[in-house]
């Protein structure tokens, strides 16, 4: 429903880079007052960056932002907020030690004379906000321990109390159950009817089509299209989301698929994942797909023994992998390349050589002593094999580019000679050229008989590299697809299958 007046918020050709990584190439968006606008795109399409620019958290590198017809350049979240823009982030950000009421009003508490906070007025207003939202939250309780749904309610109450003209909701429903989603949608509609411009970001098309008036699609950091919701179909939107030829980018080498190496049965951890079954065979690359928050990394960490699980069993070549014992898991031939390589994969302040030999120090040392020469010699072999581009083995890992850092982490784990490699987001934050190198490497490792479990949020990567795709949605396995069955549509459908396990072809592929 376009209104005749200037849009509440308009972004044109907005761009943002971090170093050499382009997070947002060309974002465009126009929000009208009294309307709910959906923004959809794959993970990494640049939606969150766009939101953070709107929120004043990032400053744009290029393009224009107009708020109610005037060009603006928010330098802080405070400025955006003062202008009337409220943002609800994917993960609510509250102060755990403070009361719910204080969380709503922090920074703009009602004050009486002498700047004294009027606690009674503040509490009454919080209670009124909750009454208006139709929820029962104790305004005096601390924010610590609130469910994600209730935290989101606090965020919405915050936005309401701001009397925001523009409300951005970044995947607010990702962690909510059916009733909670319904409650949230009711609130969004009320706000719309009060003349607020709402931006709703979601992966769930049923919600998008039920709630929104207009839909904008983004892909690879760029604007693709904007339509009235009544003019498009889910199929059309999915096609635009994916929108490119996927196979050519990904050199896939045929590998002999052998015996089962890794078996996971009924893995369950309440609140994170439920009853997950998986197998990885020698020479096979299994893609683990799903939306952010579907529980993929949690499953991987449980398998490797970093995190706890309540029920289920993990076996490597028939031998039981104990819970919470990564060292034993490594002995049995498992390796895990974590998602956040800077925090969990590397010692940034240590040289490349030390990073590469980190997992094999016991084997390399003689009588408990390890010389730099031995370390460098081993590291050099691996660095050469993976084509790590660095001046010397004593270059600090933190100074390398994302792609080269990833290669160092890979080298570290490959030097332990694993039978099964679990790799979480292998190409996140890596430029296109190096991406292809990483893919080629994974493919050739599989060719040598290694089993690979690859978690990836990039659909083309999953489809291009994997022999088989397991899809998780909200912690449950919703599909297991062979390479032939896996299409952008089938994977996306399974990944967004909000309700109940819709079991696709459960047959084992071999």
């Amino acid at each position: 429903m376009p209104s005749p007046a200037a849009p509440a918020l308009r972004l044109s050709d907005v761009s943002k880079s971090f170093g050499s990584v382009v997070a947002l190439r060309s974002g465009s968006l126009s929000l009208d007052a009294g309307s709910i606008h959906a923004l959809v795109g794959e993970n990494g399409a640049g939606k969150s960056t766009l939101v953070k620019i709107i929120a004043g958290l990032y400053r744009r590198d290029g393009g224009t932002v107009e708020f109610q017809g005037q060009t603006v350049d928010f330098r802080s979240t405070a400025e955006a907020k003062a202008a009337g823009i409220a943002v609800i982030y994917q993960e609510p950000t509250l102060f755990p030690d403070l009361s719910v009421t204080e969380n709503i009003f922090m920074g703009r508490q009602p004050t009486s004379r002498w700047g004294r906070i009027d606690r009674r007025a503040m509490r009454a207003e919080a209670a009124a906000l909750f009454a208006r939202l139709g929820v029962d939250v104790d305004p005096d309780r601390p924010a610590d321990g609130l469910s994600i749904a209730d935290q989101q309610i606090i965020e919405i109450a915050k936005a309401l109390s701001l009397d925001a003209r523009v409300l951005v909701m970044d995947e607010p429903t990702a962690a909510l159950s059916g009733n909670e989603v319904e409650r949230l949608m009711t609130v969004a509609r009320t706000l719309r009817d009060n003349g607020c411009a709402v931006l709703f970001i979601s992966h769930r098309f049923d919600e998008v089509f039920a709630l929104c008036d207009t839909i904008t699609v983004m892909r690879d950091g760029s604007y693709v299209s904007t339509d009235a919701i009544t003019d498009v179909t889910v199929e059309e939107i999915v096609r635009r989301l994916v929108g490119r030829e996927v196979t050519e980018l990904y050199p896939k080498q045929d590998a002999e698929i052998g015996e089962v190496l890794l078996e996971v049965e009924g893995l369950t951890q309440p609140g994170l994942f439920t009853d997950v079954d998986l197998t990885v065979r020698a020479g096979e690359i299994v893609g683990l797909a799903g939306l952010v928050g579907a529980g993929r990394s949690e499953v991987a960490q449980a398998i490797f023994g970093v995190d706890e699980y309540a029920a289920g069993e993990v076996r490597m070549a028939g031998q039981r992998v104990p819970r919470r014992d990564p060292v034993r898991a490594m002995d049995l031939g498992l390796a895990l390349v974590p998602e956040d390589r800077r925090r969990h994969g590397l010692v940034l302040d240590a040289p490349i050589a030390r990073n590469i030999t980190l997992a094999t120090r016991g084997r390399l040392s003689r009588g408990g002593l390890l010389t730099s020469r031995r370390e460098n010699a081993t590291a050099k072999d691996w660095a050469a094999r993976l084509e790590v581009k660095a001046a010397a083995m004593d270059t600090l890992a933190g100074t390398l580019s994302g792609g080269n850092q990833q290669k160092v982490v890979l080298a570290k784990w490959l030097s332990t000679a694993p039978k099964v490699l679990i790799i979480d987001e292998p190409t996140r934050g890596i430029d296109v050229g190096t991406k292809a190198e990483v893919h080629r490497l994974l493919s050739s490792l599989a060719g040598e008989g290694m089993g690979i479990l690859m978690i990836s949020s990039e659909l083309p990567e999953v489809l291009g590299v994997a022999d088989r795709v397991v899809v998780l949605c909200e912690g449950r396995k919703t599909a297991e697809l062979s390479r032939a069955e896996a299409t952008p549509e089938s994977v996306m459908t399974a990944a967004t299958a909000a309700a109940g396990p819709t079991t696709h072809g459960q047959e084992k592929v071999s």
Partner: protein, 347 residues
């Protein structure tokens, strides 16, 4: 996730969402526990040696001796609540005490002007800490450890082996340091006023509440658009100014100023805050708790010799107290967290 929330109703507490009664929240407060510990200690010590409280000196010392540490602990609590720490307060105390002494000796300025200058000097030194922490983004532990030595170094360089004696200090200030008003030592009254003002500000002003918010989750504070740098500067400047005031209190109480003044007292201030329930990672605790912690620490210091416990054990008791407070804090926090989680899953 659906797996986590099968309940039909919104995942909130059942209707019992009523504000706690004042009495209940008072009884539950961390400060109450530490106050009881203090009262118990005083009771036991007095039972063994009644002169500990029931004598002119004993009663006076009860309030007089802790007053310097109370002022420091209040400032320290404000800094710790923002998830920082100020280790330089001992050096600031020494430096401002000497500065005051020199001003009396060399200039003959009125007492009140000297007091203001000392407090101001403390605030400036604190501001330096604050700026380094807020803008250089180096942990406060490291920054203030550095300024601890720098400030002490400046002091040593300036004072050398010089020493200011009570005869150089105006009688007005010295008599203020020893006299009482309605039976309460005047220095103690100063510390009460400081405590009351700080407690009121921390509880009822936006600035005070934002100190808690910043300490509770610094990243969220940024997202809220709070002026976090400015608030951290305020906390450090306040801590410095209070250390300056503590320097004056020191001069008033002891009269003699040598280069060792204030040495090591910063750790007592941190200890007092922690014992008094200020979470070392920020976000919770009160300046009142820190002050009670200071009373407890000082009373133990004075009381153990009366109980006939050797000097070595006094130190160990203080250490155990700090460890106990931290462990208790951790246990209580976990229990509270679990309770809140359990409430959420129950329905």
């Amino acid at each position: 996730m659906t797996t986590l929330a099968p309940e039909p109703a919104p995942a909130t507490k059942p209707p019992a969402a009523r504000p706690q009664s004042r009495l209940a929240s008072l009884l539950k407060a961390r400060e109450t526990g530490i106050l009881l510990a203090l009262v118990a200690f005083l009771a036991v010590t007095t039972a063994i040696n009644p002169r500990f409280v029931f004598s002119t000196d004993g009663f006076r010392d009860l309030f007089l001796t802790p007053s310097i540490l109370v002022v420091l602990a209040v400032g320290q609590a404000m800094v710790i609540i923002t998830r920082n720490v100020d280790l330089s307060v001992g050096s600031i105390l020494g430096l401002t005490a000497y500065l005051a002494g020199r001003l009396f000796l060399d200039t003959g300025l009125p007492i009140l002007v000297v007091v203001l200058l000392a407090v101001l000097a403390g605030a400036v030194l604190g501001l330096v800490n604050g700026m380094l922490v807020a803008f250089a983004r180096v942990p406060a532990l490291v920054i203030t450890l550095g300024t601890l030595y720098v400030y002490r170094g400046i002091y040593l360089q300036w004072a050398g082996s010089d020493r200011i004696n009570a005869s150089d200090i105006p009688d007005g200030l010295l008599s203020f340091g020893t006299s009482s008003l309605l039976g309460i030592p005047q220095l103690a009254i100063v510390s009460f006023v400081v405590l009351a003002v700080a407690a009121y500000w921390m509880r009822t002003s936006r600035g005070g509440r934002e100190l808690y918010a910043i300490g509770s989750d610094p990243a969220a504070a940024t997202l809220y658009g709070l002026k976090d740098k400015q608030r951290i500067l305020t906390a450090f400047a306040a801590s410095g100014a209070l250390a300056g005031l503590a320097g004056i209190l020191y001069v008033a109480r002891y009269g003699t100023i040598s280069s060792g003044v204030g040495f090591g007292i910063e750790l007592e201030a941190v200890g007092a805050a922690v014992i008094g329930g200020v979470a070392i990672f920020g976000g919770s605790g009160t300046v009142v708790g820190a002050a009670i912690g200071a009373y407890l620490l000082t009373s133990i210091d004075r009381g153990l010799p009366i109980l006939g416990i050797p000097d070595f054990w006094q130190r160990a008791v203080v250490g155990l107290l700090i460890l106990g407070a931290i462990v208790l804090d951790k246990v209580l926090a976990e229990r509270q967290h679990k309770k809140l989680l359990a409430e959420r899953h129950r329905s």
